[in-house]
Symmetry: C2
Subunit: 177 residues, 2 copies
C-alpha cells in the first residue's frame, strides 16, 4: 500500500511547514501526538529538528527510545489531528480512540499511520539541546508515501484552532532545490 519515497525528497514534505503526527512506542505501547514545531536541517541524509513540550507524554518516550515516526496527514484527517492533540497518551489509547491504523515500520519500533499520505521512520541523532530547548535533531532512515492519495492538501497551524489549508501551487524560476 505504501510506496518508497527517495530520501532526497523528504525535505519537500517537511519544509512547507505542515502539521504532522509523531508516533512513539514504549514498553510495547504505541502513542501519537500532534506537532508543528519542526524544520529541515540537511537534505541528505535527511535531518530535521523538532521541539516537543516536555509536558507531553511523547517527550519522555522519544527521549528514552530515540525513535519515532513522522506521519503527514492530509486535510481529511484534520479533525482527528486536532483531537489527537487535545488529549494525552497518559489517559487515552489514541490509535484506538481515533480509529488510526498502526502499521509496522521497517527500521524503527513506532508504527506508521496507514491513513497518512507520508510516513518517515526516524532516529534521534542529537540531544545536545534537549535539556535547554526540548529540541531534538533526527535523521529520516526510511520514507513512505501512499500513491493512492494524489495531491494531498496539508494543514498549517496559526494558533487557537485556526489552520490554513494548502491552496494553489505556483511555479517560479528558482535555482534552489
Amino acid at each position: 500500500m505504501m510506496k518508497d519515497l527517495p530520501l532526497s525528497k523528504v525535505y519537500q514534505l517537511l519544509e512547507p511547514g505542515p502539521v504532522v503526527l509523531l508516533t512513539t512506542a514504549r514498553k510495547g505501547r504505541a502513542n501519537v501526538m500532534t506537532m508543528s514545531w519542526h524544520m529541515m536541517v540537511e537534505f541528505e541524509p535527511p535531518l530535521f529538528a523538532c521541539v516537543l513540550s516536555n509536558a507531553n507524554y511523547s517527550f519522555a518516550a522519544l527521549r528514552a527510545t530515540k525513535e519515532c515516526v513522522i506521519a503527514v496527514p492530509a486535510l481529511k484527517l484534520a479533525s482527528k489531528v486536532v483531537n489527537v492533540g487535545n488529549c494525552s497518551g497518559r489517559e487515552v489509547e489514541k490509535f484506538e480512540r481515533f480509529a488510526l491504523t498502526p502499521v509496522p515500520a521497517e527500521r524503527v519500533a513506532p508504527p506508521l499511520i496507514a491513513e497518512c499520505f507520508a510516513n518517515l521512520e526516524c532516529k534521534v541523532v542529537d540531544t545536545s539541546l534537549v535539556n535547554k530547548y526540548n529540541l531534538f535533531v533526527l535523521e529520516v532512515l526510511k520514507a513512505w508515501t501512499d500513491p493512492a492519495q494524489k495531491h494531498p492538501k496539508t494543514i498549517h497551524h496559526h494558533g487557537y484552532g485556526r489552520f490554513v489549508v494548502d491552496g494553489e501551487m505556483i511555479r517560479l524560476k528558482s535555482r534552489m532545490r
Copy 2:
C-alpha cells in the same frame, strides 16, 4: 506605517512554515536572503531556530553580528523572494536590485523590509549547533505588522521552484494555543 505586534503572537507567523526573508547588516551594508528552514522553539519570549547554508553570504554576517530581521512576504512578493534567493550578496546589492525598501529597525542594525507584512527583530541566543548543523537559535526582540496588508497569503516551498500558496482557513476545536 508598521504597527507593534505583541511578542506572544509571533509564533502564529512562523509556525505555519512560510518562506521568509532574512536581513543582515555588516560593515554598513545590508543584505537579504530567502529562507524556509525555520521553526518555533518557545512561545514567549519568542524563540525560533533556523538553518542557513554556510555557503550563503548571510551565514557569515549572522554569525559575526548575531542580529537579523525576519521579514514575512505575502504572495505578491513571490517572484522577488525567488529572485533574492537566486543570487548572492557577494555580487549584488539586493535591496536596490529588487526594489525592496529598507526601514531602520528599533532594536537591531539590520533593516526591516517595508513591503513585507510582518518584520521580526532578532538576536542570536545560542550558537552551540552552528558548527555542526548551521543551526542558530534566535530570540525575537520586537515584532511589527503592516495593518494595511489584510489577510496576507504566504507561500510555502516544495522544492525546485514549486510553492504552495495559503488557501482557506478552517477552525477546529483545539485546546492548544
